[in-house]
């Protein structure tokens, strides 16, 4: 167990193992997303209430899942970095943040587009849209804080602390926004009151969610690898690697 953690702490070891893992995740992502989108967009039955417009769910829900999971993984990486001083964890956290913000934005944007046929407006202060918007601000805060420091070590530690503070607050924010929304609920059609989905509708959704996760893992591995090369560019093994490549 401990030797595994120590190995994980070595950027060189991570660089090697990630090279072997990455192709599998890329393939999984490509296959799952291709199958899921063709199935979901072309073959799944249309919703009896919303017609074809419900199909945006196949982008919206996976993006929303990722938006939340990425923040949690960022905070976990922050804890690992703060406790065991594993640099790779911080590099991964730094690489996840923009991806998480992008996923949050996609979830918000697809939610807004979905709002046009269902609510008749681009934006509603719906509980879930509102907490997503707050999540986007949390992401932007972490990214901005990391960028504001001149010393990389301080930036890493500050971003880790903020990610941890944020992850403790996310459930609190989520529940308080839900509470706020139930108090001020406008009379309108909500997605929450929809009946349960039939299998042929949620199976492609599950495939899309898995595909998005594989995509996230593959992209994070790839970006972390280049970050390792960037940060460790003065180390001998990186130089030797560069010589070999040439």
């Amino acid at each position: 167990m401990w030797s595994f953690i120590h190995k994980l702490g070595s950027p060189k070891w991570f660089y090697g193992i990630s090279a072997r893992l990455m192709p599998w995740f890329w393939v999984a992502a490509a296959v799952l997303i291709a199958v899921g989108s063709v199935w979901g967009l072309a073959f799944a039955p249309a919703d009896y209430q919303q017609g074809n417009s419900f199909r945006i769910i196949y982008v919206h829900v996976p993006a929303a899942f990722l938006a939340q999971s990425i923040f949690v993984s960022m905070a976990v990486a922050g804890v690992v970095f703060m406790v065991w001083k594993i640099k790779v964890a911080d590099m991964a956290a730094a690489m996840m943040a923009p991806l998480g913000a992008a996923m949050t934005f996609i979830a918000l944007f697809s939610g807004a587009v979905w709002g046009v046929p269902t609510w008749g407006t681009w934006w509603m202060w719906d509980a879930r849209l509102t907490s997503m918007l707050i999540l986007l601000f949390l992401y932007l805060g972490v990214i901005a804080l990391r960028g504001a420091f001149t010393s990389r070590d301080s930036a890493s530690r500050a971003a880790s602390v903020l990610a941890m503070v944020g992850v403790i607050n996310i459930p609190i924010i989520k529940y308080s926004v839900d509470w706020w929304y139930t108090l001020h609920q406008p009379a309108s059609f909500t997605i929450t009151s929809r009946p349960a989905m039939p299998t042929e509708m949620w199976l492609p959704l599950l495939i899309m969610v898995l595909g998005f996760y594989s995509f996230f893992i593959a992209l994070t591995l790839m970006r972390t690898r280049s970050e390792i090369l960037r940060r460790e560019s003065s180390k001998r093994w990186v130089r030797e690697l560069a010589v070999e490549e040439r």
């Binding site: 420091f149 010393s151 301080s154």
Partner: protein
Amino acid sequence: MPRGESRLIDDARLASRGEPRTGLAVAVWATLKRDLTQLARRRGDVLNPLVFFALVITLFPIGISPDPELLATIAPGLLWVAALLSALLSLDSLFRSDFDDGSLEQLLLAPHPLPMLGLAKVAVHWLLTGLPLALMAPVLGIMLSLPAGSYLMLAVSLALGSASLSLIGAIGAALTVGLSRGGVLLSLLVLPLYIPVLIFGAGAVQASILGDGAAAHLAILGALLALALMLAPWAIAAALRISING
């Protein structure tokens, strides 16, 4: 030898060498007293947020409408948002002067737990910002024709909520104190975390106008404060260490 006795002998030994008595309570009390004295000498820092609060409240009738009925409906939220912004405004100076003159480093070097010393500084911030804002809010409530019967709840909810605001805000202030232009970044980091407090604070006033459920809101504000009291000091201490070493 019983502990109390050994403690007395320690104190006597220190006193014979001309050194002051030590101990956590003494250190916390000294920090409290020092910060209070300093702020009593820089009255502007205490008064400016209050003037800002009054000014922001003045902007709304001018910008929206002087109609008392309209103002009465938005008054609870308006007062809470304006008070929250005023508290935010004063955060930047929470650790700034101590950071500039090096006394923050002395605080870190002191043989006492930094979370407790940080908590003392936050307590002073609340005493001189949150509490005056809470006392001033009912006066501004009259100007916004806040419905009768909710004035006490406005002051109580603000007094309770602003303690959480000070604690959460201090994390952001500690993270950004080492940055030369941390002001805007500070608000970006802290505002999303303020949302639960705003929801339940404004909700308490709203509920007392409607005549039901204000106690529940206050209870949740108290729970948020308890949580913040428990966790925020550690985050503040970690953030201060990062800012000093970076």
